[in-house]
């Protein structure tokens, strides 16, 4: 199977029912996208697929063959953090950090469509992302500031 991740084309030989998440983590060693539930409920595995923040755990690898996938590792440009990453850093918007990649991906998708989201718009766009450490107010602050 052929996929394009962070601007690079790859050909992978994997079992037919492999998820995009497993392909990224196991085959491409891009472990920034995390497993949290495997059923699209927590957002830890979110990646951008043609710009949409999508849970990669329930996305069959076969379904993204003609699409562009961007993971957390693809956000940095020339060693510079993406503004959303920088805002998370500035606001210390995490505790254990495990939700962080998925949160940032959702926020990047939102900000691209809507650069000045209201608090309510942020909440709606990120309702699919769980931070079990529950530092939600800080995350909201980081997303608004980014």
């Amino acid at each position: 199977m052929k996929i394009n991740v962070n601007g690079t084309d790859y050909t992978l030989d994997v079992p037919a029912n492999t998820s995009l998440l497993d392909a990224l983590r196991v085959n491409l060693h891009l472990t920034g996208s995390k497993y949290g539930c495997g059923e699209g409920a927590c957002g830890a595995c979110r990646v951008l697929i043609d710009g949409h923040a999508t849970p990669s755990c329930i996305t069959p690898l076969a379904s993204v063959q003609d699409k562009f996938v961007v993971t957390i590792e693809g956000l940095e440009k020339e060693g510079q953090l993406h503004p959303v990453q920088q805002a998370f850093l500035d606001e210390d918007a995490f505790q254990c950090g495990y939700c962080c990649s998925g949160m940032i991906i959702s926020a990047v998708a939102l900000k691209t469509k809507n650069p000045r989201p209201t608090r309510q718009e942020i909440i709606e766009a990120m309702q699919g992302n769980i931070c079990r450490c529950c530092v939600y107010p800080r995350i909201i602050k980081a997303v608004s500031k980014a």
Binding site: G36, E73, G97, C100
Partner: protein, 697 residues
């Protein structure tokens, strides 16, 4: 391998004698358990032996400062706060301190990271050790220059002779030597009001690796030749294996099936193949009857060890005589920790030695568990714990480590075991459910006269009533739990404080007193009154309520910290809709080490507590968990978050205590009391609203 001279660390416990062998060049200071216990006055940190080392700080000849502690980082940010403590006393920037944590080979023995003990115990201890180093470095420089000690100063990694401006680096001072210092008990710690690094909002030290996705959690780690392991699970608790046909599981050449008695697992080069192979195993099980959620509270009471309520007659008599009486029982459901990173372990055997990376709050505990299971000496086992995707008291055990080690031994390859979310829900452990029965009496003027309190199963933490009351009988009745249960943020304090603070409100309501005033009248402790008043004033407790709004308050003293919580809820009479609008939390845990991370801890604790307060509950029947997924077990999300104000009271004159637990306890009773205020309904179960945010009156 860091700056130790040899790999031969004794995992039985590093002591002064064998420590010198480990030490590379430079200067180190080591703290023993005797010193730790004397310093922290914390019971329960049983030392393996008196002179066993509990932590040490090492300054290498090149000036690098490394701190070794068996504590672990799970998001509570002690990597940052402990660095701050050491940086403060050595007058160094935080960035020049490296912490080696939770590694059974490199770090000294530690019972585990739990119970909010790191800040009160390890923090001051490391500061004492760091100041001992500072003093000795100053002495060495003074001797070398032949000047008075009072003329030298330690700053920015060097010692300065103030009158002449002459400097010498730490490295040059200790060159060619191997110095091991005892802790100097006479050294002065920098008082909290003079702190320049400690006490400030230092950001998470390794934060960049998290926002860039580069941090390697155990679930992200790989080794050459590594395979993925999956374990066959029983269909329900108490089920035993009758027979298993593993013939179809070998779906490709890379698959290995491992069977050791009733343990059956598979390994494969990728996780999907391992899962596919596991699904082909056909097993037959014998199940046994198991209690279900519907009958759980009767079960816990009838299966408790000491069912007899040993209350003295005087308590009963005082209650009978009280003009104001409350008799109430409370039911608290089992809840799950749901650490966002499920259990994970990577294990490899080399020459009969086992190395395991796993996310656990007790790496040394896991090491002991592995030694016992595989019958090998502890010093043939190394357990390492990279900063982990949270725990909340839920990762004290080493299940994944044992499974990975078993599969690795059988296959002769490094094996990684990653639990699925479903496995984490079913095969980890829960915060205990519990039944609480209270009889409380007060006089007409609103002062408590009697208090009888029984807790079945949830535990003894936070069980003491903080109010003045002459007649009291408080009893915890351990019970036989049908679900595996264990530690959880705040332990039983959540259940106990929920019950205490609900009863207090109901008494206040009966004597027609303001619940805040009722509490203040019955409390003596000034620190208690301060948090209550701080929360109430920020909240606007005396403010006129809008129609359809209710206010609730609760307070507690847990793990040497004081918390007061106010809640405002909105109630729509016509459709029964309830909404938590606002929470105000005042928190006081002595001198604040890092206000930024303290706020993060309080925030996380309170909002996580919202789940257990409102909707989280583990559902089970016939030994099966009925809601083992994040769609069926609801945890707080962005949309659940009320407006939140956190007030941190900084008592620079008092020692610092931990903060990972206490703030959780006030959430449920404050909301419960606010709901009672606006609806008149006195709820007495946790979660309060298991069927959604509506209440029909």
């Amino acid at each position: 391998m860091k700056n130790l001279g040899t790999k031969e660390a004794s995992v039985e416990g590093i002591n002064r004698r064998n420590f010198l062998k480990l030490l590379g060049g430079g200067i180190a200071v080591a703290l023993t358990y005797t010193e730790l216990n004397a310093l922290s006055k914390q019971p329960g940190l049983f030392p393996p032996a008196d002179d066993t080392i509990a932590a040490w700080i090492h300054i290498l000849e090149n000036g690098t400062v490394t701190v070794y502690t068996g504590k672990v980082e799970v998001g509570q940010n002690i990597r940052t706060s402990l660095s701050q403590a050491v940086a403060e006393e050595l007058s160094l920037p935080v960035s020049s301190i490296e912490l080696i944590m939770g590694d059974t080979l490199l770090t000294p023995y530690d019972r585990g990271t739990y119970g909010s003990l790191t800040t009160p115990a390890m923090g001051p201890k490391l500061r004492k050790a760091a100041s001992s180093l500072r003093e000795e470095l100053a002495n060495m420089a003074a001797r070398q220059w032949n000047v008075g000690k009072q003329t030298v100063e330690v700053k920015n990694g060097q010692v300065i002779h103030t009158p002449s401006g002459k400097t010498v680096s730490f490295g040059d001072l200790t060159k060619g030597q191997k110095i091991l210092l005892p802790v100097n008990d006479q050294v002065q710690l920098t008082p909290a009001d003079k702190w320049s690094t400690a006490g400030t909002a230092v950001a998470k030290v390794n934060a960049k690796s998290f926002v860039s996705g580069k941090h390697k959690y155990v679930s992200d780690m790989t080794l050459p030749g590594m395979v993925y392991g999956k374990i066959l699970r029983p269909p329900s608790y108490g089920a035993s294996l009758l027979s298993a046909d593993t013939g179809n599981a070998k779906i490709s050449s890379g698959v290995t099936v491992v069977r050791e008695d009733n343990f059956i697992g598979v390994t494969a080069p990728d996780p999907q193949t391992a899962a596919n192979a596991l699904a082909r195993i056909e097993a037959r099980w014998k199940t046994t009857p198991q209690p279900s959620r519907a009958e759980i509270f009767t079960y816990l009471k009838t299966h408790s060890e000491n069912r007899e309520k040993g209350a003295p007659e005087a308590i009963r008599a005082a209650w009978q005589a009280a003009p104001i009486q409350v008799q109430q029982h409370f039911e608290v459901q089992y809840i799950a920790h749901v650490p966002l990173e499920p259990r994970a372990a990577l294990a490899v055997w080399e020459n009969k030695k086992l190395t395991v990376w796993t996310g656990t709050q007790r790496p040394f505990g896991v090491q002991e568990e592995l030694a016992e299971i595989f019958s090998i000496p502890k010093n043939n086992i190394r357990v390492m714990m990279p900063d982990t995707g949270s725990a909340y008291g839920g990762k004290h055990s080493g299940e994944a480590a044992v499974e990975a080690a078993r599969l690795a031994r059988a296959t002769g390859k490094p094996v990684k075991v990653l639990w699925t979310r479903e496995e984490e829900f079913k095969w980890a452990y829960f915060r205990p459910g519990g039944l609480i029965e209270v009889n409380a009496g007060a006089g007409k003027e609103g002062l408590l006269t009697s208090w009888e309190f029984h807790n079945y199963n949830s535990g003894g933490a936070g069980i003491e009533v903080p109010y003045e009351v002459a007649q009291r009988h408080i009893q915890y009745h351990p019970s036989d739990t049908p679900l595996k249960q264990g530690s959880y943020r705040g332990l039983a304090a959540t259940a106990n404080v929920f019950s205490i603070e609900s009863v207090i409100d109901d008494l206040a309501c009966q004597v027609k007193q303001d619940p805040l005033q009722f509490r203040l009248n019955n409390l003596k402790d000034e620190r208690f009154k301060q948090v209550l008043e701080a929360a109430a004033s920020k909240f606007g407790w005396k403010r006129q309520k809008e129609t359809g709004r209710g206010y609730g308050i609760a307070c507690a003293f847990v793990k040497n910290a004081y918390v007061a919580t106010c809640a405002e809820v909105a109630y729509n009479k016509s459709n029964g809709q309830l909404q938590v609008l606002r929470l105000v939390v005042a928190f006081e845990c002595g001198a604040i080490v890092n206000p930024l991370h303290l706020e993060n801890q309080v925030m996380g604790c309170v909002l996580q507590g919202l789940g257990g307060a409102l909707f989280e509950a583990v559902d089970f029947k016939d030994g099966r968990i009925l809601n083992p997924s994040l769609f069926s077990y609801r945890v707080p999300r962005f949309g659940d978050i009320p407006e939140l104000d956190i007030l941190l009271l900084n008592r620079k004159d008092l020692p610092s205590s931990g903060a990972g637990e206490a703030p959780i306890v006030g959430v449920a009773p404050a909301i419960r009391n606010a709901i009672a205020d606006v609806t008149g309904v006195k709820l007495h179960s946790l979660p309060l609203l298991p069927h959604g945010m509506t209440l029909k009156v």
